[in-house]
Subunit: 282 residues, 2 copies
């Protein structure tokens, strides 16, 4: 496995392979890889000739009071996982190589990124995501890129920007990988104390309660939301940031249940913020 740090070397590698007709798969990550990433890497490995994983803790998608400095960076573990999964290139640019002096361009997806859910809660987050993904796609120029459904709104944003900017990358969104007790895998789970780790499953349990209510025929979205909130309330350390029934395409909140529904939520447990979602319908 090659480890490349310079955007220029990464771009040259891709350029050479594309000329040879090789298809390039790409899994962009912030490292601290877990089985969720592993499932993306495996899915990419099956569908592409060459596979690039980027590991870059992107500073521009963190807010000023967020966890940029303490974000986990277990690079030896991450490389070992990539190597074991047959990754061809681990791309590890420095912040300085990605954002050199004079850098100023930003990519915005206003409706998805500013008005709804994670966008409303974290105003600069998705500008950082959209910009870094555009840059990474410019450098790697993959045919296919894979993202996890756990970050549903992020995946929606990326599909939108790839279409809007004609980036020519196929986006594949893969199902969320969960711990045995239902907690969605996330690099941030390691912030949880043992007690909080137990409590964290409440979000998934809330979605299950919501799904069950829908399956039982409840039609009113706010009734389903109330049921989900009541579930979260069973854990006194958990605080709901939002918990809603949305349209899976537009992410707009629903008033009535419909054929396809996205249950979407964010909770805080202590200082740790967790997001998750579930696709369901009636």
């Amino acid at each position: 496995m090659k480890i490349l740090r310079a955007p220029r070397s990464m771009a040259a590698w891709g350029e050479r392979l594309r000329r040879e007709g090789v298809t390039i798969g790409f899994v962009p990550t912030m490292g601290a890889l877990h089985d969720g990433h592993r499932s993306l890497i495996r899915a990419a490995r099956l569908r592409c000739d060459a596979l690039v994983v980027s590991i870059f803790v992107n500073p521009t998608q963190f807010g000023p009071n967020e966890d940029l400095t303490r974000y986990p960076r277990p690079i030896t573990h991450d490389r070992a996982l990539c190597r074991a999964e047959g990754v061809d290139v681990c791309f590890e640019p420095t912040p300085n190589a990605m954002y050199p002096k004079g850098f100023q361009t930003i990519v915005m997806v206003p409706e998805i990124a500013q008005q709804l859910w994670e966008g409303a809660a974290r105003p600069h987050h998705f500008v950082g995501v959209a910009t870094v993904v555009t840059k990474l796609f410019g450098i790697v120029r993959p045919h296919l890129a894979l993202f996890g459904q756990k970050d549903y709104q992020q995946a929606t944003l990326i599909k939108r920007l790839v279409t809007d900017l004609n980036l020519g990358v196929t986006i594949d969104v893969r199902p969320t990988i969960r711990e045995k007790d239902g907690l969605a895998m996330s690099s941030r789970n390691r912030y949880l104390s043992p007690d909080d780790r137990q409590a964290a499953t409440i979000l998934y349990r809330a979605f299950r309660a919501g799904r069950q209510a829908i399956e039982e025929g409840i039609k009113n979205a706010s009734t389903v939301e109330r049921i989900m909130r009541k579930t979260v309330a069973q854990e006194p350390t958990a605080h709901v940031e939002y918990l809603a029934l949305c349209d899976p395409a537009s992410l707009e909140p629903l008033k009535q249940v419909q054929r396809q529904i996205l249950l979407l939520g964010a909770i805080r447990i202590g200082k740790v913020r967790l997001i998750d979602n579930m696709l369901t319908g009636c």
Copy 2:
């Protein structure tokens, strides 16, 4: 010469050629082609195996009170010019193909695009330019793209965004082509009445007066600016929007003359707005 209208066909054409190792040159235009465009096309023709010219009057770079609807669209003339210059593909997308329903992504280059000169005068203009150029580069994926120096700030913006977003396109900015009397060629010159057409040379004459003052040793930028303004004042129909000595890299206004100087200006003659610039130094 191929005429392609669908972004998908254009992208497929480029993809096939790049695989064969062909280098692609690209001249993005809004049509109404003149000798300025011709010089870009000829320069590209010499340096690339395959040459694409796009003709697209981009609605998003026009303000609400600007000349979008009356912008000239002499498509037969434009295609003939392209054919005569050995262009391989004339890419003529429709506004709807470029901005279909749901489109929302924008590319911003805040400092260059919002704070200075044309950016300050036309607040949405450069967002439209940055976004459409990113899209066109995504579709055509050229190795080389050419722009005219007449739109100096636009060229600066495009170089910045290509670097910042790692678009991997070499940008070549070519000298302004002028009429015999010095007027910079522009598709908008045809809006000028015969009298205004005469008066329009005053901007170039102002730059010449400014350059002469610098060559004669004047060091104070505002003195040079005063000389340029006095020149424009000789034409009673001409109104200065801005006229300044700037740093050619940052476009920031200068207080003192320096080794390399950009004389930059915009004037109105009647309802027609003209921009031009001159590189000089001492």
